[in-house]
Structures are given as structure tokens and as C-alpha cells.
Subunit: 193 residues, 2 copies
Amino acid sequence: MTVATYDRVVPRSGEQARFRLRAAALELYGERGYETTTTAQIAELAGVSERTFFRHFPDKREVLFDGETELITIMTSAIEAAPADLTPLLLVMTAYAAAVPLLVANRTVAEQRAQVIATTPALQERAHAKGAALLEAVTTAVVERGVPQPTARLAAQVGAAVFDRATHAWNDQPGRDLHDLLTAATAEARQLA
Amino acid sequence: MTVATYDRVVPRSGEQARFRLRAAALELYGERGYETTTTAQIAELAGVSERTFFRHFPDKREVLFDGETELITIMTSAIEAAPADLTPLLLVMTAYAAAVPLLVANRTVAEQRAQVIATTPALQERAHAKGAALLEAVTTAVVERGVPQPTARLAAQVGAAVFDRATHAWNDQPGRDLHDLLTAATAEARQLA
């Protein structure tokens, strides 16, 4: 969604500034590159002051990693609330299933983000750190359900591979339901092993 | 192995300069840190000229990633030569099994390397790139055995998770056989799914 479209659907309230800033940043990173875009330009396109930018984000990099905490909370809460009889891998897949609504809502933004990160080496370490933090959080949540740590970590890693398989399929076939693709990828992993 | 020990067991021939340089680099990185160590100091400790250093390595970072090509060659050759009836995951595990002798031979060096990388943020992106290159090479080798690309990639990722599980167990129980630990971790992944 461009900022121009955004303007027509979202009121310019204080609460929406964060969303406007994120849309503006992604638009500029895509158009002129991450490295050359400044926080002043992002704020200008979003129609807010640079001070407002810094009230929401510590720097232009973190705009790209917004929502990380929310994703972790949704996934670990799902593991906490899952039925007691699930295998470790199904515990992890329950967490990804719980994240589907957020992933669907953020789909366009996620694609733009992925493109910026793929073409900007300076961002890749941060993206890896995000993946590692998610893996760690999922592992810990599975351990808290009584699974030994090494098995929990293996389940979290296999789950991440299954999720990766499902989202690649989702990119190739945008019309498919992500829940169905996750189920299919889980079955494929079972077949593999 | 320290350079002093190394001196007693390995002749100072041109062919051994590479190994001497690697041992010297790891010793210095461990003692005074990666950032402050210079190629001149590494060459001096190894008893060779700085020019010899640059004949073997483009910079002090690449000393840590020596052996990457050899590992990829061993693993992809094993997939090429594997029996026709293996499942995709077992194809990948055959590749890791083929790498066991190299991993055993490099065990001490690998532990020193891991410590330097863990404490040096500047090296982590390079380490991730190494992991990604291995994943890509294994995926391609599995595709060449007739497995569709998405399934091959899933198998390569699950295989990497299984390998990670086995090497963590190896670190905790150094007396165990890595082949046995790989077999146990493969069985555990099957159980999970």
C-alpha cells in the first residue's frame, strides 16, 4: 500500500503515525534504496515531524523489524494454551497457525520488507537475529510444556523449516490458504522423515 | 593445538604453512581478540612472512572459514553417490555422515572458531553466509537426484536441524561417536513428526 492510498483509508491521528511511518519508509526504501533514505524523508512523506519518527522508532532500521514482539507473543501464547497431548512439532505448528491472521494482514508489507532486506547486506545480520530470537522464544515455550530442551530446539528448527516451505508455496500461489499450506508442509515433513 | 605443539609434530614445509597460519590465527584470536590481531602478528607466530599469509588467505577473516569448499564437496559427492532408494532426508543425512571424518579431524579448531565467531559480531554475517551456501549446495545436490526443489530444500533444512541436534549432543558428551549421535537425532526427528 502506498502512502497516497494509505491517506485515503487511514485518518492522520497520532495513533496511526506509526503505520504511516512504516508505509512511507518501505515506499522510500523500495524506490531509492535503504542506504540513501533519511529519517527526515520518511517523516516528510508520512506527513509527521522527524521527532514523531523518533518517538516510534530508534532508527530507520527498526522500522523494518516492527511487529517482532507481537509475533513472538502470539506464538508463545499459542504454545502455552495448546492441548496437552500434542507432539513437540505440532506444538510448534500450533504457534505458526496462530500467527496466520497477523501474517495475512501484513502480507504486502512483508513482501516489501523481504525485498529491501535481500538487497541490503547491512540489514541481513539484523534479520538473522530476528529469526534467532523467534527460534529461542519458541524453544523456551516448548520447554515450558515439559519437553526436554534439545528436543524442543529440534522441534522449533524443524517447525521453522516447515513454515519456510509453506510461505514459499504461498508466494508462488498467492490464492492458496496459508493454513492449508502449513498443514500440507507438516505432512510433507512427516513423509520426509 | 597451539603453534608450539604444532611445531613439534608438523614440519615447517611450504605445504604446511596454511595449517600453521590457521593454528596461529586461532591462538591469537582466542588470546587477544579477533579485532586487534593483525595479519603480521599471525604470520610472525606461524614463522612465515606476511606475503605467505596473503598467498594462502585473502584476509584475516577467511582464515576462519578455511575448509568450507572441502566440506561442500564431500557432502555433495556423497549425495551424488548415494543409493537410489533413499528418502530425501536420508540423502541429506548421508551427506552429513560422509563429513564425519573431516568434522572429527577439525574438532579442536572448530571449537576455537565457534568461540571467536560467537564473541565477534563482525564475523556472524560471514558465518550465516557459510551456512546458507551449504544449505544451497545440499539442496541442489538433492534436486539433481530427482527430488522437487521445495521438498529438497525442506529436507536440507530439516537435515541441518538434525545435524545441529547431534553436534550439540557431541559437545555435551565428547566421548560419544558422532555417527551414532546423527542416527539418534534422525530417529528423534522422525519421532517428532
